[in-house]
């Protein structure tokens, strides 16, 4: 009989607490599968954020930090600088990375820290109850934008990937989406590339996942995937935004 | 006889090099086996404002490194003289630069020595060595430390810029000569 599904070894076998239709669980699994594929589980140190995904440290079978809100890139800097042999990644949401932690992410990227950042953008503050995120789209209704995000007073969604790509140092920046199986398969390739750049000693790799929050969006799982596709993609174009030049062999660090 | 702790205040404009003079003095005293402390009044006036440094030299432990009323004042310019001369302890010593302190208000209960530090420094080869002239006058007059110890400190300080050693040593020696013969003494 063909085996069609198995747990990733790097994933602890327990049910996710995430709401039905939330894509955190899928993203966890992609990361775990790639960790297995690259055979790096025993070298990985992950850093969980504040937010719903803080519990990633209960789901991955590797050494994990819990970090303060927005500071994961600083924690990663400390860990990687002191132990360059470790494979260090952070897992951060939009409030964490694109609001309170903008300073840390920009400077970690600019210093070229040899870390990998997974940025989960679901355009809303999930944990605190559905308030506006820096990445909420214009017109999006949240508990703090009851009449929809007003670009006059709240500005436009922050395009973190494009912002970071404007810096000279980062090696790899890509945006993927979780709204369709095809996109999820593409995301898995990108996760793998991001880790491979770190393993090659290249500076700073970054993957932005467009994700859902059915509970706070007030949508069924299927509706939320459609909403992501229809409302978020126009503001957050998918693809590899920055890749290392062809002659960059990296390798300044093991 | 040397007091248990000798408190010296060296003051001037930032850039005059009084902090350096103090460091050379402390270094020389330390090498000669004394306990020393060197405490700069640091601040935004690092360049151009008033800068002063307290040096304490003791046989045993230095107590407070902070000097309010020094035994000895070395004043490079008028603001420094005006600010600190009234605080010098009775029977203290005030060394001042007559080139930049045109109208000194003398203390009746202190010894004063003056020198035109810039002129002496120019004669020694570089006007910027005026701080070494002042240090020389102090050491020449008090013999707090030996010339050898000061010159060793100068050589160590300028080890990376050895070409500056001769002019600094020359300026220092010129200062010592002034200090020793006390020609400029204006004791009241």
């Amino acid at each position: 009989m063909n085996k069609v599904f198995s747990y990733a070894d790097a994933l602890i076998r327990k049910p996710f607490h995430y709401c039905p239709g939330c894509t955190h669980g899928t993203i966890h699994r992609l990361i775990a599968e790639v960790i297995d594929e690259l055979g790096i589980r025993e070298r990985v140190v992950g850093i969980s954020p504040v937010g719903c995904a803080v519990f990633i440290l209960d789901y991955l079978r590797c050494d994990m930090f819990q970090a303060s809100h927005g500071r994961a890139p600083a924690v990663a800097t400390g860990a990687k600088r002191c132990r360059p042999d470790l494979v260090v990644f952070t897992y951060q949401g939009d409030g964490d990375l694109a609001a309170i932690g903008t300073s840390e992410i920009v400077h970690a990227a600019n210093r070229g820290e040899r870390i990998t950042v997974f940025f989960v953008n679901n355009a809303v503050y999930g944990m605190t109850g559905g308030q506006m995120a820096p990445t909420s789209v214009p017109g999006q209704r949240t508990t703090t934008t009851p009449h929809g995000r007003n670009t006059e007073t709240d500005g436009y969604p922050v395009n973190m990937s494009e912002m970071l790509a404007a810096l000279h140092t980062p090696a790899y920046i890509a945006r993927v989406s979780m709204h369709a199986p095809k996109e999820i398969i593409a995301a898995r390739h990108v996760v793998k590339k991001a880790f491979e750049h770190q393993l090659a000693g290249r500076c700073f790799s970054f993957v932005e996942f467009l994700s859902t929050c059915p509970t706070n969006w007030g949508m069924t799982p299927v509706e939320s995937l459609r909403w992501l596709e229809k409302e978020m993609l126009p503001y957050f174009p998918l693809g590899e935004i920055k890749v290392p030049p062809a002659d960059d062999t990296g390798g300044r660090m093991p | 006889m040397m007091k248990p702790t000798t408190e010296i205040l060296l003051a001037g404009f930032g850039g005059h090099g009084m902090l350096l003079s103090g460091r050379l003095l402390a270094q020389a005293a330390m090498e000669m086996g004394s306990q020393v402390s060197w405490l700069p009044a640091y601040g935004p006036e690092m360049r151009g404002g008033t800068a002063n440094v307290a040096v304490c030299i003791a046989r045993d432990q230095v107590g407070s490194p902070y000097v309010e009323c020094p035994h000895i004042l070395v004043a490079m310019n008028a603001p420094s003289f005006d600010k600190f001369a009234p605080k010098v302890k009775p029977d203290g010593l005030i060394v001042y630069n007559e080139g930049l302190v045109p109208n000194p208000k003398q203390r009746a209960d202190c010894t004063a020595l003056c020198v035109n530090a810039q002129e002496v420094a120019i004669a020694a080869g570089n006007i910027r060595a005026a701080n070494l002239v002042m240090l020389g006058v102090l050491v020449g007059a008090t013999e707090l430390v030996s010339d050898d110890a000061v010159i060793a400190a100068i050589e160590s300080e300028f080890a990376a810029k050895a070409r500056f050693i001769p002019v600094n040593v020359a300026a220092y020696r010129a200062g010592v000569a002034h200090g020793k013969d006390g020609r400029c003494a204006q004791s009241a």
Binding site: P15, C19, P20, C52, M127, G129, G130, T220, V222 | -
Partner: protein, 257 residues
């Protein structure tokens, strides 16, 4: 067994007994009861007391804590009491129980049409914000008949007039994609409640009910007042209410554990 139907909205209960042994007062016609209302209206106390009442009637009751908005005073805090009375409680377990995260368990969807359950009660968070979570369940809720009870406490801000209560109803219905089917009068001032507060609440709730042509399902009354003559004279079903989420400084409620 005499049963008062909520839908007639007028049948008066006979309540001569001590509060711990109240006779059954209300049997739902649908197996799903959704409790909504504004912040602090007393949804959770109503949901918990209702669950205990129905379980006392021999029904198999399961209560889900869907309050993802406010970490404090959630029905999960009455879990031990509920379970002691054979009410199943669906809340995250372990440390997640205390997490400030909007955790909607997959079991919540599962319990909506579970034949093992006579009565599924959803304790929803406050206002339209709390009701948003119902919208994420819209695919399963849309085809399921349910009692949607709006709890009204006339002594709370934003629900002290008929218009405010109607606005609250509209916003909850919009964000949750549900229709309120019945009203519950739950006006109280905690331990300072007296009969006049109950009467004030009934007047308001009845007026709201009239404005939308909805039935008033029942009136809650602090257990200690439930045998007062004025209460007995109310033309509505009465649910004696014992606080199951006591404030930390209150002495332990008898039967609370």
């Amino acid at each position: 067994m005499e049963i008062a139907r909520a839908s007639n909205g007028t049948k008066r209960m006979n309540l001569p007994l001590p509060s711990t042994a109240q006779p059954p007062f209300w049997r739902p016609v649908h197996s799903l009861i959704i409790v909504v209302g504004n912040y602090g209206s007393g949804k959770t106390e109503v949901a918990v007391n209702l669950a205990l009442q129905l379980a006392g009637q021999g029904l198999r009751v399961r209560l889900a804590d869907l309050d993802v908005v406010n970490l404090y005073f959630r029905s999960r805090e009455a879990q031990a009491c509920l379970e002691a009375h054979q009410v199943e409680v669906v809340v995250p377990q372990g440390p997640m129980r205390y997490a400030d995260a909007p955790v909607i368990l997959p079991q919540v969807r599962g319990m909506i049409a579970d034949p093992q359950v006579d009565c599924a009660i959803f304790d929803v968070g406050g206002n339209d914000v709390g009701a948003t979570v119902l919208s994420s369940l819209h695919d399963v809720l849309a085809g399921t008949p349910a009692h949607v009870l709006q709890v009204i406490n006339a002594r709370r801000p934003f629900t002290s007039t008929v218009d405010e209560c109607l606005q609250m109803m509209d916003s909850i219905e919009k964000s949750g994609r549900v229709r309120v089917t019945e009203l519950v009068s739950n006006t109280h001032l905690l331990d300072d409640t007296d009969v006049s507060h109950v009467a004030e609440g009934v007047r308001l709730t009845a007026a709201v009910a009239q404005a939308r042509a909805l039935p008033l399902a029942f009136v809650t009354v602090p257990a200690a007042l439930s045998t007062c003559a004025d209460v007995l004279a109310l033309p509505h079903p009465v649910m004696p209410l014992t606080r199951r989420l006591p404030t930390p400084w209150a002495p332990a409620t008898p039967g609370g554990q």
